[in-house]
C-alpha cells in the first residue's frame, strides 16, 4: 500500500493551501478603491512608515475585517457543499442550490421584521430558517419517489425557488425601511464587514469545522451507501443529524452576515476532490483553506472589476459557479 497515512496527506494539503490562503489574504488587503498596493501593505506589515497614514486604517480596519469575513464565509460554504454532497451522495448538492441558504435568508428577514437585533438573534433566526429547510428536505427524502436520488436535488431547487418567492413577498408586503438595502445583502455583500461579525462567524466556524472534522471519517463511510455504512458500525441517523445541524448552524450564521453566495460549495469541493481524492479527513481542512482563499479572491474581483463602486460578491460567485454547475452536470451525465 503506497498511499501515505492520512496525517501525512493532511499536512501535505495544508502545506499547499496555507501559502495560497496567505497569498489571498495579502492580495485582498492590498487592493481596493482606497488605494494601497502590495508595497504599501508590506511597509505597513513590517512597521515601516507608510506615506499615507489613512492607509493603515484602510488595511486594518476596513479591509482586514472584510477579508476575514470573506475567508470565513468561503470556508463555511465550501464545507457546506462538501457535507451535502456526502449526505446526498450527489456531486451537485450545495447549500444554495438546495435552498438552505434561501431558508436562512427568510429566517434573517423575519428576524429583522420582528425587530430582533442583528447579532446574535438575527443569526439565530437565520439558523432556524436553515434548519427548517433542512427539515423539509429530510421529509422529502423520506418519501419514495420515482426520481430516486435526484428527487432530493429537485426538491431542493424547488425549495430554493419557493424561498426566493417568499423573500420577494416579504419585501413587497412591507415597506419597512429596515429592509431598505436588503437586495444588495441578498446578492451577497461583504462591504460593511466589521470585527464583531468576524468574531461571531469565526467562533461558529471554528466550532462547526472542528465538529465536521471529527465526523469526516463518517462521511467517508456514508459514501458507501446507507446499508454498507450501518453494517460497518456507523450510527447513521445520529451522524446524519449531527452533520445537518452543524452545517445549518454555520450556513445560517454566514447567510445572516454575508447574504446569499451561491455555488461556492459546488466549485470548491469538486476541485479539491480532483486534486486530493475523496478522503473527507483531507477534504474538510482543504475546504476550509481553499474555500476561504477562493472567497477572498472573488470579493477582490467584486471590488476591483467595476469601474465605479463595487458589485455584490454573490454576482462573482454565481458568474463563476453557475457555468461550473453545468460542466459538472455534463460530467455526471456521462
Amino acid at each position: 500500500m503506497k498511499a501515505p497515512l492520512p496525517v501525512v496527506r493532511i499536512l501535505r494539503v495544508k502545506a499547499i493551501l496555507l501559502p495560497l490562503l496567505a497569498a489571498a489574504i495579502l492580495a485582498g488587503l492590498s487592493w481596493g478603491s482606497g488605494g494601497g498596493g502590495p508595497e504599501a501593505l508590506f511597509r505597513a506589515l513590517v512597521g515601516l512608515p507608510v506615506d499615507d497614514p489613512v492607509l493603515a486604517d484602510i488595511f486594518w480596519k476596513i479591509r482586514l475585517p472584510r477579508v476575514l469575513l470573506a475567508a470565513l464565509t468561503g470556508a463555511v460554504l465550501a464545507l457546506g457543499g462538501l457535507v451535502f454532497q456526502a449526505l446526498l451522495r450527489n456531486p451537485l448538492a450545495e447549500p444554495y442550490i438546495l435552498g438552505i441558504s434561501g431558508g436562512a435568508a427568510i429566517g434573517a428577514i423575519l428576524g429583522i421584521l420582528a425587530g430582533l437585533p442583528r447579532y446574535p438573534w438575527g443569526s439565530l433566526a437565520s439558523f432556524a430558517g436553515a434548519l427548517g429547510t433542512v427539515g423539509l428536505l429530510v421529509l422529502f427524502a423520506s418519501w419514495k419517489t420515482a426520481l430516486g436520488k435526484d428527487a432530493l436535488l429537485l426538491s431542493g431547487v424547488m425549495i430554493n425557488a419557493f424561498c426566493g418567492a417568499v423573500i420577494l413577498f416579504l419585501i413587497s408586503v412591507t415597506s419597512d425601511v429596515r429592509l431598505f438595502n436588503i437586495l444588495s445583502w441578498l446578492m451577497g455583500d461583504l462591504s460593511l464587514a466589521a470585527m464583531e461579525q468576524v468574531a461571531l462567524l469565526a467562533a461558529v466556524t471554528a466550532a462547526c469545522a472542528t465538529g465536521l472534522f471529527f465526523l469526516s471519517h463518517g462521511m467517508n463511510l456514508l459514501l458507501l451507501g446507507p446499508d454498507a455504512a450501518r453494517s460497518l458500525g456507523v450510527p447513521l441517523e445520529a451522524l446524519r443529524w449531527a452533520l445537518l445541524i452543524l452545517t445549518s448552524l454555520m450556513v445560517g450564521v454566514s447567510v445572516s452576515l454575508c447574504g446569499l453566495l451561491g455555488f461556492v460549495g459546488l466549485v470548491m469541493p469538486h476541485l479539491l476532490r480532483l486534486l486530493f481524492g475523496p478522503d473527507h479527513r483531507v477534504l474538510v481542512p482543504a475546504c476550509v483553506l481553499a474555500g476561504a482563499s477562493y472567497m477572498i479572491l472573488c470579493d477582490l474581483l467584486a471590488r476591483v472589476l467595476p469601474r465605479q463602486g463595487e458589485m455584490p460578491v454573490g454576482v462573482v460567485t454565481a458568474l463563476i459557479g453557475a457555468p461550473a454547475f453545468i460542466v459538472l452536470l455534463r460530467r455526471a451525465a456521462r
Binding site: M1, K2, A3, L5, P6, V7, R89, P91, F213, F214, L215, S216, H217, G218, N220, L221, L223, L224, G225, D227, A228, R230, S231, L232, G233, V234, P235, R273, G277, P278, D279, R281
Partner: protein, 278 residues
C-alpha cells in the same frame, strides 16, 4: 456450543406488505450456508435482518447465543460483515483506501490507521487476489474485481460471520467459481461462517454445506443440498416444471423442463430435459 446464527419465528413486513413469515432455522459455526429462492421471496430482507439493518416485527435472532438486539452496532460490525450487492461506487476511492474503510468498526472516530490496520488490509487484499489493484480507482474496476474488493473490505472487519448478497450476479462462470472458491477457503482456512444469498441454484448446490429454500416469505425446504435440491419443493417454489439430475461431478443439477407451449422445443422428444442456464 451455541450456533453461529439462530433464527426463530421471525416475521417481517414492509409497512403492510408481509415479506417473511415465521422463519426458523439455524446456522452452525463454519457452515457454508446458502439461501436460495425465486425473485421476491425475501432473501435479501432475510440477510438484512441477519446483520441488524432491519428489525423483525416478531421472533428473535441470536448470534452466538446472544440476541441480536443486545449487540451494539460497532460490536455487531466486528462480528458480522455484509457484502452488499455490488453497486457502483460514486466516490473515486483508490482500492487500498476503500479496503481500509472496512477497519472502521475497530478504529476511533477519525479512522486513523495503525500499522496493524494496514497489515490487515494488505492481507485481506492478498487473500482475495486484489493486491495488484491497490492503486486503481474503484469506479474503474471490472465486475469481478469490484466484487472481490468488496469482500476484502468485509474481511477487514475480521468477522466471524460473512453475509453476502448475490456475490456472483453479473459475473461469468469462471469469476463465479472464483468467488465461491474464495468463500470455501475462508470457511476452511479461517473458520468463518459464510451465509450467502443466491438465485443460482446449481452453483449453490455445488458449494453449500447447508441451505434453505425460501418462497413467498416462507421456508419450503432446509438442510444439506440433497434435501433441498429436490423436484417437489423447487417446483413449488419456482412455479414451473423442473428436472433434477446428477451431473458428472456427482452434484445435483436443476434444469427447466420445456412445457411444449412455445419456448424451447425438446431436441430429442424422448429426453425431457434441455440445458438452459437458469
Amino acid at each position: 456450543m451455541n450456533p453461529a446464527i439462530e433464527v426463530s419465528g421471525v416475521s417481517f413486513s414492509y409497512e403492510e406488505i408481509p415479506v417473511l413469515r415465521n422463519i426458523t432455522f439455524r446456522v452452525e459455526e463454519g457452515d457454508y450456508f446458502v439461501i436460495i429462492g425465486p425473485n421476491g421471496s425475501g432473501k435479501t430482507t432475510l440477510l438484512k435482518l441477519l446483520c441488524g439493518l432491519l428489525k423483525p416485527q416478531r421472533g428473535i435472532l441470536t448470534l452466538f447465543g446472544l440476541p441480536l438486539s443486545r449487540y451494539r452496532r460497532r460490536a455487531l460490525a466486528r462480528l458480522a460483515a455484509l457484502v452488499p450487492q455490488a453497486a457502483a461506487i460514486d466516490a473515486p476511492f483508490r482500492v487500498a483506501e476503500f479496503v481500509l474503510l472496512g477497519r472502521a468498526p475497530h478504529q476511533g472516530p477519525l479512522g486513523w490507521e495503525t500499522p496493524e490496520d494496514v497489515a490487515i488490509a494488505r492481507e485481506a487484499m492478498k487473500f482475495t487476489g486484489t493486491g495488484h489493484l491497490a492503486g486503481r480507482r474503484m469506479d474503474r474496476l471490472s465486475g469481478g474485481e469490484r466484487q472481490r474488493v468488496l469482500i476484502a473490505r468485509a474481511l477487514c472487519q475480521r468477522p466471524r460471520i460473512l453475509l453476502l448478497d448475490e456475490p456472483t450476479a453479473y459475473l461469468d462462470l469462471a469469476h463465479q467459481a472464483q468467488i465461491m472458491d474464495l468463500m470455501e477457503a475462508l470457511r476452511t482456512e479461517r473458520g468463518v461462517t459464510v451465509v450467502l444469498v443466491s438465485h443460482d441454484v446449481n452453483l449453490a448446490a455445488m458449494y453449500a454445506s447447508r441451505m434453505v429454500l425460501l418462497a413467498a416469505g416462507e421456508i419450503l425446504a432446509a438442510g444439506p443440498p440433497p434435501a433441498v435440491i429436490a423436484e417437489a419443493p423447487l417446483e413449488q417454489a419456482y412455479g414451473c416444471r423442473l428436472a433434477v439430475e446428477t451431473n458428472a461431478g456427482g452434484f445435483p443439477r436443476v434444469s427447466l423442463v420445456p412445457n411444449g407451449k412455445g419456448g424451447p422445443r425438446p431436441l430429442r422428444p424422448a429426453a425431457a430435459a434441455t440445458e438452459v442456464e437458469r
